[in-house]
Amino acid sequence: MRVSYYPGCSLEGTAKSYDISVRHVCRSLDIQLEEVPTWACCGSSPALKMNRLLSTALSAHNLALAERQNLSDVVAPCPFCFRRLKSAQEEMARDPALRQKVEQTIESQVNGNLTIHNLLGFLTERVGMKAIGEKIRKPLTGLKLIPYYGCYVVKPPSVTCFDDPANPTSLDEILRAAGGEVLDWDFKSECCGAGLSLSKPEKVCELTGRLVRDAAWRGADAIVVVCQLCQANLDLRQREIGLTDKKEYQLPVIYFTELLGLAFGCASEQLGLDRHFVDPLAVLKRKGLA
């Protein structure tokens, strides 16, 4: 299967391990990722907030680039990019006047015929649990995992059209297929503070604090994420959270693709597992998985 791949800025910046592990997992599943040539930033939440036209135009620009690859599907690992691409395509389909304005702004045409996936959705719905199950070589036996979806892959449902926003299960399914023990909790799609990490770190600490506390209380070995913003916010803030609680939190925060890669039999270094702030390798080693 060939699909176009839109990594998004973070995956070539701070979230390299996500990028590497995505590529690895896809390779194992015989999926050829073809990076959208000269892709640009989707504008993320700053553009979305400051200028609606600009925000839609940036996404449309990328869609136009992707359309030229002549592949029917595009996959974006970053949930925010996914949501922006998807809603740009839909808004333009709904509102011809907007489409015209956008096309004038980006000076090219957008047909709007791509199927836009987030990575999780692509793997569960398109590739299918069966194909994934068949590739498992080293099940993650005994690993207690907290699945954390964050908000952007599932909310708002009218845009994402993916899984259940209140109680999503696709990541649970993948992790279970990989042999992990999935813990239930109620913060699956609660917000981590996303883009406020720099400007309002105290807000982020407050939000991630409740996630980390509950995950620790449930005896998790790790929190598994699908979003690089969640990863960074949860990975980097545990010390501050610990200060308030007078506790030391050391909960690894791992991309689900890293774990899938491990279960497919790949070595941890090749997946970027050694690059996280809270070291996941210790617990993985203890369970004989790395």
Binding site: D164, A166, D186, F187, R210, D214, W217
Partner: protein
């Protein structure tokens, strides 16, 4: 135009007087009135003109309020529109003719649909006025929602204390007949003269016999979540919701026939015996099986088990091991020597002959013997069992098992005469001479079909079933080293595996079909392969080759396809591609045939292929007194089908001998939905299917020892517990045996009542919103998140906790109780925009009750607005705040979640302007009131309209709240919209008053606006006749014209629109009138 008047309040008395005066003074012959909707005031004005002596149908009303002034934003355009309409009305009125409606008397009986407080009120009022009332209630008891409450707002009086006097009054009222578990199917007729069909589901317990002693439920093996307790506790299918329930007798909850039983050709009550086995009641389980299948041990070994492929547990994990469990029961009985004959009727002096001692014949003998007949079985072979004995090999079904089960039958005074060939040693006439009054023929198919190819008569080419028979009868069978078996069915597999056991070095099985098309069961084929049989697919036999009359090989051509596009057996071959297999023995197992010469002498009808033709229900042949069943009528079928037909024939023979004729056969129960539902999934205990212990392939080929060794007691019991109780009550009969007054009849079936009534009150009430539609509230996930209806049960003394408010998760007394308002109300995204009107008060009531139980507890209420409009309501709410210290927080709850093990409710305190979180021990969701889930089918059955949510539409939102647009049908209670009890009661009274008015007038005027046929125009084309939905049109064959029955015609005008020559017109809506109106409007 004689006069035109403008008056502001024309419908008022002075306005009407204006009209009357004008008619009198000016001698008007038509009146047109332009104002509001005729739906509202046409009757008023018609009455006014008639009072002045004018025929009411000469009056025409034009609607310029609802259709013009209220909906137009442009006053000038509205005026133009009004003028056009008035012009149309005038033009039409000119064509009006005087019409007179006929009178019809009213049938002074009422039907109340729904036995909640609204329906009860209406019923009692009508009944007390001396009229007959039918109360049709869907559930097993009456009382509606109120029966579930503890106390009622705003007075906090006990709900039961005010309701039960009413329900018992209904129960014993001589004028009220209560039909429980009933629903209206459809309605015909018109006001004063309705005919209603009501479908009543069985209660299984007779209300006139049951004493309410409760002995039955103590022995019932089934537990299901109680619907009345909203799943907070379980009940037995036989039970009653609470001690004061009316009708005050028990009843059984039964869904219908589960798919396992429906799939079993013999109709064995699978759920019943699985349940009894699960409860360790093995003897009872066996007795249940034998009601339809006398041979548990045999059946448990060889049955084809269609039941298991239909078993709903298969949709959860794997089907229950129905067949292995049956085998266990049979074997257990033998091991412990528990067998005793079933209860048998007294011996009759009637003799019945059974020909053939296969499963069909044995089954017939068994059931005939129970009925008391003297049965003799005639069998050609020296052994008994038919194909069980001389077909199915020992390793699957040991002979000893057959012998033991046959022995049981022998002990029931059945005589066996082996070695007697019917048609040769004894004829049908002989049997008649010997006093046999009926004969059942079940002689199977014992002739091996031949291929009809070259070399088939060579030495060493043997029929497949011939070989098996010889082996079974211990005759000498020569099996060489290299064996070829031809055929792809189960017989072929049995032959091949037998050959392996007889020492063949190599066994090749060759068949036409591809591997996945083979008719043999996959499991058997697989076992054969394990035992070393080589399978060759898609090959058709061409010829056998040999030397000196002995076979040496078989030649095959490639089979390109077996079935044609219609799925019929029509193989095609490629003659060029040949394969030869060397062999010294070849077994041909391609099918079975009957002994045609024997059958043709009997003088009965035969189907092509020699099968005996019988009546599908009675199995009677075309010769009176001769019945037939099993393989000889079905073609090669199965053991269980033969047994089923044996029983069916026994019943038919009994009917034939006892009642001379062919009596109706037992009616079947309605099967339930095959698709697994949520309730069943929840009932599934996490038990894995027990696998049958088997011999390994190496050992099993060495002898004819049985391969499967059977279940242990524990395995069987755990299989029994895997059953999901799909039918709810399993009809095990335990309760029947226990019930002293013999009040229980498990064979009760649905009934249809045809009721004739003059008025109908629809009071089907409300349902509560399904809280699981708010996943963010955790309903269904957290046991301590409950609905307000569940909370009522928690407070109720007859409820699951005996009236103590304990939280469901751990039975502790809750400290913090959080009430969440507007769950499913005022929420467009969830489809319910309306306010449910009562839940604000319900929460105030419930928190007050909670505080009375636990004065130290704290109640919180998240609300959007407090709606307390009602007498004493606001005061009640203030009490909750001031005396019960409830904290009211304005804001809709965003989420209920578990944080480090603690339940937390989060929302905004919108008055303080910040989010808040509350740690809760119990969360009560104030679920809104919704229409009943089946509102659409009620609406359809009664021809009512509903609003967009599904509440029934009243005639007028202000002036006709208890009437519908259908005269004679009235509304009461929650069915019309969310309401509290006082309003429901008031409306119940209003509906009763409407019905009583109708009864006391005693007559209704039939609208004269029916179809009229102009016979002179009718060309006799009959177009109209087929169209009338009320069969009002008949055709006069002499005069070749249609004719219309006024009493049946409803005036819909379908016929008029269809008549090609416009011979029909509906009075008051004739083409002239409509044309004039069109012209007038557009002039």
């Amino acid at each position: 135009m004689a006069v035109s008047r403008h008056y502001k309040y024309m419908c008022s008395e002075p306005g009407q007087k204006l009209i009357r005066d004008d008619i009198a003074e000016l001698g008007l012959d038509h009146v047109v009135e332009a104002s509001c909707s005729p739906k509202m005031h046409e009757p008023t004005f018609r009455n006014a003109v008639s009072a002045a002596g004018m025929n009411p149908y000469l009056f025409e009303m034009v609607n310029i309020r609802e259709h013009c002034s209220w909906v137009s934003e442009d006053p000038e355009a509205a005026t133009r529109k009004a003028k056009d309409l008035i012009r149309g009305g005038i033009a039409r009125a000119v064509h009006h003719e005087p019409l007179k409606g006929s009178k019809k008397s009213v049938n002074p009986k009422a039907m109340i649909v729904g036995g909640g407080i609204a329906g009860i009120t209406a019923a009692l009022k009508i009944a007390n006025a001396g009229y007959q009332v039918y109360m049709v209630e869907r559930e097993e008891i009456i009382g509606g929602k109120m029966a579930q409450f503890d106390k009622t707002f705003p007075t906090l009086d006990c709900s039961g204390c005010i309701l039960t006097p009413k329900t018992s009054e209904v129960g014993r009222h001589p004028n009220i007949q209560v039909l429980t578990k009933s629903q209206v199917m459809d309605l015909t007729g018109f006001v004063g003269n309705f005919k209603v069909r009501v479908l009543q589901k069985p209660r299984y317990v007779r209300t006139d016999k049951c004493t309410g002693c409760g002995d039955c439920q103590q022995v019932c093996p089934i537990d299901i979540p109680s619907p009345f307790e909203l799943g907070m506790t379980t009940r037995h299918p036989i039970s009653r919701p609470f001690p004061q329930a009316i009708p005050n007798t028990y009843s059984i909850l039964r869904e219908g026939m589960p798919p396992c039983q429906a799939a079993c050709p013999a109709g064995v009550n699978v759920q019943g015996y699985m349940t009894l086995t699960g409860a360790g009641k093995f003897v009872e389980a066996l007795a249940l099986i034998r009601e339809r299948m006398p041979f548990a041990s045999i059946c448990g070994r060889i049955c084809v088990r269609p039941c298991e492929s239909s078993c709903k547990r298969g949709q959860v994990d794997a089907p229950t091991a129905i067949c292995h469990t049956k085998r266990f029961l049979g074997d257990y009985e033998k091991e412990h020597s528990l067998y005793s004959n079933p209860p048998m009727k007294e011996l009759r002096d009637k003799k019945v002959a059974v020909i053939g001692a296969g499963p069909g014949g044995l089954s017939a003998a068994y059931y005939l013997a129970i009925e008391g007949y003297q049965v003799t079985v005639f069998e050609k072979l020296p052994v008994i069992g038919g194909m069980l004995n001389v077909g199915i090999p020992d390793y699957r079904l040991p002979r000893q098992i057959i012998d033991e089960e046959v022995e049981n039958i022998r002990s029931m005074n059945v005589a066996f005469r082996t070695g007697v060939t019917f048609g040769k040693d004894i004829t049908i006439d002989d049997l008649e001479d010997q006093g046999y009054q009926a004969v059942f023929l079940s002689i199977g198919l014992h002739v091996s079909r031949r291929l009809g190819i070259d070399g088939e008569s060579l030495d060493g080419v043997v029929g497949g079933i011939d070989m098996l028979r010889m082996v079974a009868l211990k005759e000498d069978v020569k099996v060489g080293q290299n064996v070829v078996v031809i055929g792809g069915g189960n017989v072929a597999i049995d032959v091949a595996r037998t050959a392996v056991r007889l020492g063949a070095a190599r066994v090749d099985l060759v068949c036409l079909e591809a591997r996945d098309e083979m008719p043999a069961w996959e499991r058997e084929t697989h076992e054969a392969i394990e035992e070393g049989v080589a399978i060759h697919n898609s090959l058709g036999p061409k010829e056998f080759v040999g030397q000196d009359g002995k076979v040496q090989g078989a030649v095959f051509k490639r089979c390109t396809s077996v079935f044609d596009e219609n799925g019929a057996f029509r193989p095609t071959y490629d003659e060029n591609e040949l394969t030869e297999l060397a062999c010294d023995t070849a077994f041909v197992a391609i099918g079975q045939a009957s002994e045609s010469n024997l059958l043709s002498n009997l003088g009965i009808e035969l189907a092509p292929g020699g099968r005996i033709v019988t009546d599908a229900e009675t199995l009677a042949t075309t010769r009176p007194g001769l019945f037939a069943g099993g393989d000889c009528t079905l073609g090669p079928a199965t053991f269980v089908q033969a047994v089923a037909q044996g029983r069916q024939a026994a019943l038919a023979i009994h009917n034939f001998l006892e009642f001379g004729g062919l009596r109706e056969v037992e009616s079947k129960e309605r099967p339930i939905d095959k698709q697994l539902n949520e309730a069943e999934r929840l009932r599934a205990k996490p038990i894995a299917r027990n696998e049958m212990p088997e011999l390994p392939p190496e050992t099993r080929t060495k002898s004819f020892d049985p391969i499967e060794s059977g279940f242990t007691e524990d395995m069987a019991r755990s299989e029994g517990q895997r059953c999901l109780s799909c039918g709810l009550c399993c009809q095990c009969g335990e309760c029947v045996r226990k019930c002293g007054p013999q009040a229980i009849n498990l064979n009760e079936r649905e009934r249809i009542h045809e009721l004739e009534v003059g008025a109908i009150v629809v009071a089907t009430g409300v349902d509560v919103f399904d809280a699981s539609k708010y996943p963010e509230y955790g309903y269904g996930k957290y046991p301590d998140v409950i609905t307000n209806l569940q909370f009522e049960r928690l407070c109720n003394a007859s409820g699951p906790t005996g009236g103590k408010i304990l939280r469901p998760s751990d039975g502790k007394v809750p400290q913090n109780v959080v009430f969440v308002q507007c769950v499913g109300s005022r929420d467009r995204a969830k489809g319910n925009e309306y306010c449910s009107k009562v839940c604000c008060m319900i929460s105030a009531k419930q928190l007050s009750i909670f505080k009375h139980h636990n004065p130290h507890g704290q109640a919180y209420v998240f609300y959007i607005d407090n709606r307390a409009g009602g007498k004493g309501y606001e005061e009640f709410l203030r009490r909750a705040i001031e005396h019960e210290h409830a904290q009211y927080i304005r804001g809709r709850v965003a989420k209920v979640f578990q944080d480090q093990g603690r339940l937390v409710v989060r929302g905004e305190n919108s008055l303080a302007g910040a989010p808040v979180e509350i740690e809760a021990d119990l969360v009560v969701l104030a679920t809104g009131l919704t229409p009943q889930k089946d509102h659409a089918s009620i609406a359809r059955a009664l021809n009512l309209s509903t609003d967009k949510y599904g509440f029934f539409m009243e005639l007028h939102p202000k002036l006709g709240p208890a009437e519908t647009s259908l005269a004679g049908i009235y509304l009461a209670g929650g069915a019309q919209g969310p309401k509290d009890i006082p309003e429901s009661v008031a409306q119940g009274g209003a509906a009763a008053a409407e019905a009583l008015t109708l009864f006391s007038v005693g007559q209704v005027e039939i609208d004269p606006t029916v179809a009229r046929l102009d016979e002179r125009l009718c060309t006799g084309c009959k177009t109209c006749a087929g169209l009338c939905a009320y069969n009002a049109i008949s055709f006069n064959e002499q005069q070749k014209v249609a004719s219309i029955n006024d009493a049946l015609c409803q005036g819909c005008g379908t016929c008029a629109a269809a008549c090609p020559v416009a011979a029909i017109g509906v009075k008051h809506y004739t083409p002239d009138q409509i044309f004039a109106q069109i012209e007038g409007i557009l002039a």
